[in-house]
């Protein structure tokens, strides 16, 4: 079973040289730590920064320089700043190659829910609805089951929707799944996880074709 770092590591394998990537808050942010050395990816922050660098040294913290998670960050070589309309302009016009998001639920048709639990949590959608409605390629980093052991990979989302049919791939502590017309297609198992266990933990339609390899994490 993967921990959150493992999930981030596995998603980092999806990065390609020259990609512009938007990383959501939480596990997605960790993906930045596992970018393969031989490639260059440029991280976009929807508040208005292209080229997010690592966290600053304590002496260099700058209140004017934060990411979309409101954490202090730095720039990299070739960074640019812009306003939030232009930022979502790049997102809507398909210039961001990959978006990695967290989710509370994903349905087997690619629907995603990650912004609201009615009566319980009202934080708002931030940029998530814009990202899922417009991004070319969306990978979700999420827990496969909730604390009670219930599947979060569902036939249909029970929580308010963030976007319809937009997720392309899901990486959980149990495996890697493509969203296909036949539902979640299992691509890889997490180390030590059996296909049967994944079947048991997946409520949505699960497609298993041939032998499913265990994923390789460097």
């Amino acid at each position: 079973m993967l921990d959150k770092f493992g999930i981030a590591k596995r998603i980092a394998q999806e990065l390609k040289d020259g990609y512009y990537v938007n990383l959501g808050i939480g596990i997605p942010t960790l993906v930045a730590n596992y970018v393969p050395k031989e490639i260059e990816v440029i991280l976009q922050s929807e508040n208005g920064l292209l080229g997010i660098g690592p966290f600053p040294f304590a002496d260099d913290v700058d209140a004017d320089l934060i990411n979309a998670g409101k954490q202090t960050v730095t720039t990299t070589k070739g960074s640019s700043f812009f306003d939030s309309a232009l930022s979502f302009g790049m997102i809507r016009s398909g210039r961001v190659d990959l978006t990695v998001l967290g989710a509370m639920e994903v349905a087997d048709n690619g629907d995603i829910a990650n912004w609201k639990i009615p009566g319980k949590m009202v934080k708002g959608m931030g940029g998530a609805m814009d990202l899922v409605a417009a991004a070319k390629n969306i990978i979700v980093a999420m827990q496969h089951v909730d604390k009670k052991g219930n599947s979060k990979l569902l036939k249909k989302c029970s929580l308010p929707i963030t976007g319809l049919g937009c997720v392309k791939k899901v990486v959980t502590e149990l495996g890697v799944f493509d969203i296909t017309a036949e539902g979640f297609k299992l691509l890889e198992r997490a180390p030590g996880i059996s296909v049967d266990y994944i079947k048991e933990k997946t409520e949505g339609r699960l497609l298993i074709v041939g032998e499913i390899p265990e994923m390789e994490l460097n």
Binding site: F55, I66, Q71, V122, D130, A134, P160, L164
Partner: protein, 233 residues
């Protein structure tokens, strides 16, 4: 002579009265108009509708105006950092309209650009789409979203000049130039105010035509929500 210069925040907001619709720049606590928020609290103006991406934290930013119950309605995209906000919202004391961040930004842009409405795919198939017109272009559905209609815009810039030209710094730019274009009356507070002619015309982010009042703010706290650091090797 252009008379955009005002002495301070209190003079800048002098005619903001109860029930006004105001836009406030900033993302989280980054790039917020601290001086004007403090002045609005001093003035005690109430029943405000505030359009701002976030609602501050419990004791800073718009959060202060929530504590003093000056805000009737918030229009924001994310309000997760504010427990008092959540309490007022769940108890029904505060009216809240949550809208996608890109929609918020683009509706500001629409106002500033004299476009009455825009189309965006954000929110199609969600609660956000309820009651809104949906239209397909090239087979893809979009929501029709209207430009904002606000009485005042209050923004914070790094540098400004006496003609109202503004330059922002790093990610404190965020919604500020968009809202600067979108107010019937736009108020800008700046960290550094210079005479017209001292800023490079190629580097101005907001041309002065959009700014009605400007002043140099004082005692910026520039609080950080999450100080995250790297260790030196």
């Amino acid at each position: 002579m252009l008379t955009k210069l005002v002495a301070n925040a209190d003079e800048a907001i002098r005619d903001i009265s109860d029930g006004a619709v105001i836009m406030l720049g900033g993302f989280g606590l980054c790039g917020i108009p601290e001086n004007c928020i403090a002045a609005l609290v001093r003035k005690g103006v109430k029943d405000l509708t505030c359009i701002s991406n976030n609602a501050g934290v419990d004791d800073f930013g718009i959060g202060i105006m929530l504590k003093t119950r000056q805000v009737k309605k918030m229009i924001s995209s994310y309000v997760g950092e504010n427990a008092e906000f959540e309490r007022q919202l769940l108890s029904g004391e505060l009216e809240v309209e949550l809208i996608p961040q890109g929609t918020l930004a683009t509706r500001c842009l629409a106002t500033g650009y004299g476009m009455p409405a825009i189309f965006t795919p954000a929110g199609v198939g969600t609660e956000v789409a309820e009651g809104k017109e949906i239209r397909e272009f090239n087979g893809k559905p979009y929501l029709l979203e209207h430009a904002f209609d606000s009485d005042f815009s209050i923004v914070k810039a790094w540098k400004g000049d006496t003609h109202g030209n503004l330059i922002f710094r790093a990610t404190s730019r965020n919604f500020n130039p968009l809202m600067a274009m979108a107010g019937k009356i736009t108020i800008a507070e700046v960290e550094i105010l210079v005479e017209a002619g001292e800023l490079d015309p190629d580097q101005i982010h907001t041309p002065g035509i959009f700014v009605n009042r400007i002043f140099e703010g004082r005692n910026y706290e520039k609080r950080i929500e999450q100080v995250t650091t790297s260790l030196k090797a």
